[in-house]
Symmetry: C2
Subunit: 287 residues, 2 copies
Amino acid sequence: MSIMDKLYEKVEDRGNTCVGLDTSLDYIPLSIKRKFTNYEDMIFNFNKEIIDSTFDRVACFKLQIAYYEAQGIEGLRAYSKTLKYIKEKNSLAIGDIKRGDIKDTAKMYAKAHFEGELEADFITLNPYMGMDSIDPYLPYIKKGDKGVFILLRTSNKGAEDIQYIESKDGKRVYDIVGEKISYMGKEYIGEKGYSQVGAVVGCTHIEEGKGLRKELNNTFFLIPGYGAQGGSAKDVAIYLNKGNGGVVNSSRKIILAYKDHEGEAVGFYARQEVIRMNDEIKDALNI
Amino acid sequence: MSIMDKLYEKVEDRGNTCVGLDTSLDYIPLSIKRKFTNYEDMIFNFNKEIIDSTFDRVACFKLQIAYYEAQGIEGLRAYSKTLKYIKEKNSLAIGDIKRGDIKDTAKMYAKAHFEGELEADFITLNPYMGMDSIDPYLPYIKKGDKGVFILLRTSNKGAEDIQYIESKDGKRVYDIVGEKISYMGKEYIGEKGYSQVGAVVGCTHIEEGKGLRKELNNTFFLIPGYGAQGGSAKDVAIYLNKGNGGVVNSSRKIILAYKDHEGEAVGFYARQEVIRMNDEIKDALNI
């Protein structure tokens, strides 16, 4: 069973939600900050409370590494510790690192993020340097226990600058990237019909979403843009295949849910928001 | 005086060479490894020997962060220590991180790599997500003491996959990226005529090089591809403006120069190769 099969099963069992652990220091309530003397412990324990309260109802967790790098070495230790804890909980983790570089360098990134202290089940990659910048990750994918999500169509406004450039054949850059992802992934399709080479596809562009879902039938999607970024459950539904084939990331709406209430019950309100989000997506699929 | 002015002056005084500290553990000789008990010290002291032996003859140093991430937290500590040491030597450092992400995340990367433990003078960025993914670095650029190099035309074969896509107007993707870099940089042109928004342009594509150098007259180039990657000094010369306006990266040919000789004189042979490379580029400019 490949790692993408495992993710598929998590979606079946627990729902489409991917919790974005984009943990900024500002997000951590005083009650947690006061208990610890260093950033590493503050960040890790905030994450731990969210993981403990939600892991049985979510497909996976995504750690945006920029938030950890911003706290230097201590932040990266918290990143490492959080990934290990997610593994202990028998959950899955995406390292949202968006790396992309020449072959020799990519080999080092693969070693960094698929082995050792920063090891995740999946990582995100940037295709601007071309598909030979993805190749060095394939040996890990071949073994079955690692997967990647390659940036295809991102959810930000500026995405149009490059991804929307129309080629002389009438295709857009993101269409061409999609073809390459689909082609590269053909060798790594698991029991559930999805390749271990996935794609990042924002849910804020409905017509494109329909086209991409159809074209990339064996490609699992990591879907940002829901919630704080403006995408609705109905939008998300378009990017799924009968409710699977994609995980939907939400970060601030989950990890800061406690701020809409009295007290500092981080885990309790994160869980409530996860359940609400799973249900909302399920409802949208039934329409 | 902006940071790009400072880099310009270093090129005037010391030459075009940028030493790529892509320090793999395998590169470190036994004589250094034996002296230390952990990877952090081994990596840092190997780098230190090269910096001490070359800083007065090079424009700057470039640290490819992937090699450090591959050694986990210890590697990143060595990355941090090396950056600090370069600063002590009154030299300039490029953090080759090739990050690119949405606004909120980019703010975190800017904090991570322009402040605190991982602080560099310059960083490299990936434009696939569009120019709003570059905006969060501009406040640092505005202050004058930080600069960026945005991936434009990279030196690897696969670069053609995306960067070569021809648009319906007959421009290639990298031409369009170049226009955007040039436009964004206009506000940040220093005394020496170069913007603090630079570009990464591989020196392995001569005809393109001529075009890009002409079009991007105010853009400083970080030029990979020399030496181990196949580019010659003659190729490099095309990407420079009267010998300035660009730094030329070489990594293995400098940091592994000692391997072509008896003994393990890392610093001595690194310096020899730096001087040879500076001279070779100067000669090529005079032809």
